[in-house]
């Protein structure tokens, strides 16, 4: 196994770990706010490490660029999505929960 392959393997494993963390968090955390926190780990770091792992071995620069574009697209759209989802959730929260400081 070359050094390059080792690095790729390590990066892929790291990615897998963050996906695992995200999935477990999504399942186990108590409410949507904390779950979205878990999810962003998978979105940003998990995919990021997988992309890095693949990029290490990529035969051409074009391919690396393409992987990068995909990652950036997912990053942007997932951060926007998180924002929109939480915005929607919070816009409605006060109606059901107006009293009682927590």
């Amino acid at each position: 196994m070359t050094l390059q392959e080792l690095a790729a393997a390590a990066l892929l494993f790291a990615g897998a770990f963050f996906f695992l963390a995200g999935a477990i968090g999504l399942l186990r955390f108590p409410d949507p706010c904390t779950r979205i926190h878990a999810l962003t780990k998978a979105d940003n770091l998990g995919l990021g490490f997988v992309v890095l792992g693949l990029a290490v071995e990529a035969p051409s620069v074009v391919l690396v660029a393409k992987l990068g574009v995909i990652w950036v697209l997912v990053l942007v759209s997932s951060s926007l999505s998180s924002q929109l989802i939480m915005g929607r959730a919070q816009a409605r929260a006060p109606r059901t929960d107006p009293r009682g400081p927590t």
Partner: protein
């Protein structure tokens, strides 16, 4: 195929019916829609795994992306009415019938004589003369272009029928919700990115998986986003929109009819020009498919209705 490959396929094959079961038995409509979107994701993966990349592309774009958004946008209109599960006996009967058919189909398929892959060889032999180097595109736009001609008409008719029954009630952009800062900057990124990617997919279509339908769906996704966020007003049936709507079919009919005038068969492209003609056709189809898909979404009324009529819809 190693053990990992087999397991991977096995997991995919197990996930599909599992999720489908979830869709069918979900207690509420919104849950069913969410699971349906997930089903679209997983089936796109399955198609990719089966090397049917073209189908995977369409499934990713239309099956999960746009269909999910379309179902969600229909949700407010139908939610209150879904309160009547049919009787257990009836469901069991239908289930048994469908299971029987499925099992029978499975057995029949497995017992099919193992023959060569249909017309694949013939397609490969003739691909040089066709207007595309990718077999799927060659089949869709040349060998069986006549099918696609009618399918494009199907899409246009569907759009006309949807437009006939749409109510202006759900017109987004009228709600006065200002576009948030991040959303606006996201849309600023999405529009150019979609156009570039759509153009790339059309180009790919001439020699690799891709083409008008996939590219059109990307553009439609962008258009739907703009329309749903109120960033752009809903499509009005201006001359320009109508021109975009029929462009694909018009070009197709022209390409079909022109050879007839010269005494050839319909869609018989003059061979040296077949490549450029097919590519031009793809571009026209991309535009039309994108606009047609956008018209399926609520918020694309015929024309601005006078307020009196808009108000009386229940």
């Amino acid at each position: 195929m190693s053990l990992v490959d087999w397991t991977l396929d096995g997991v995919l094959a197990a996930l599909l019916p599992l999720i489908a079961w979830g869709v069918v038995t979900a207690a509420s409509l919104d849950k069913a829609i969410m699971l349906f979107i997930v089903l679209g994701f997983v089936s796109a993966l399955a198609w990719a795994r089966l090397d049917a990349i073209d189908v995977a592309l369409v499934e990713a774009a239309v099956g999960s992306g746009l269909t999910g958004a379309l179902l969600l946008s229909a949700l407010p209109a139908i939610q209150p009415r879904l309160r009547r599960p049919s009787s257990l006996a009836r469901r069991a009967g239908v289930g048994a019938l469908l299971a029987g058919i499925t099992i029978w189909l499975g057995v029949t398929t497995l017992r099919l004589p193992a023959r060569s892959g249909g017309l694949a060889e013939l397609v490969c032999e003739n691909i040089e003369q066709s207007g595309a180097l990718h077999p799927i595109t060659a089949v869709l736009l040349d060998f069986r272009g006549y099918d696609t001609l009618i399918e494009v008409a199907v899409l246009l008719v569907a759009s006309l029928a949807v437009r006939a029954v749409q109510r202006p009630r759900l017109r987004p952009g009228r709600r006065g919700e200002p576009t948030s800062e991040p959303l606006a900057s996201f849309l600023n990124l999405l529009v150019p990115a979609s156009i570039v990617i759509a153009g790339f997919l059309v180009w790919e279509g001439s020699h690799a998986p891709g083409g008008a339908f996939q590219a059109g769906s990307i553009l439609a996704g962008c258009g739907v986003s703009l329309q749903l966020t109120g960033e752009r007003p809903a499509l009005r049936m201006t001359l320009r929109v109508r021109a975009a709507l029929v462009l694909g079919l018009a070009v197709f009919v022209a390409l079909a009819g022109a050879p007839l005038l010269r005494g050839h068969d319909l869609l018989d492209y003059p061979r040296p020009w077949a490549g450029p003609l097919v590519f031009a056709l793809e571009l026209a189809l991309t535009v039309s498919i994108a606009v047609i898909l956008v018209t399926f979404f609520p918020g694309a009324p015929d024309r601005p209705e006078p307020p009196a009529r808009a108000a009386d819809s229940p």
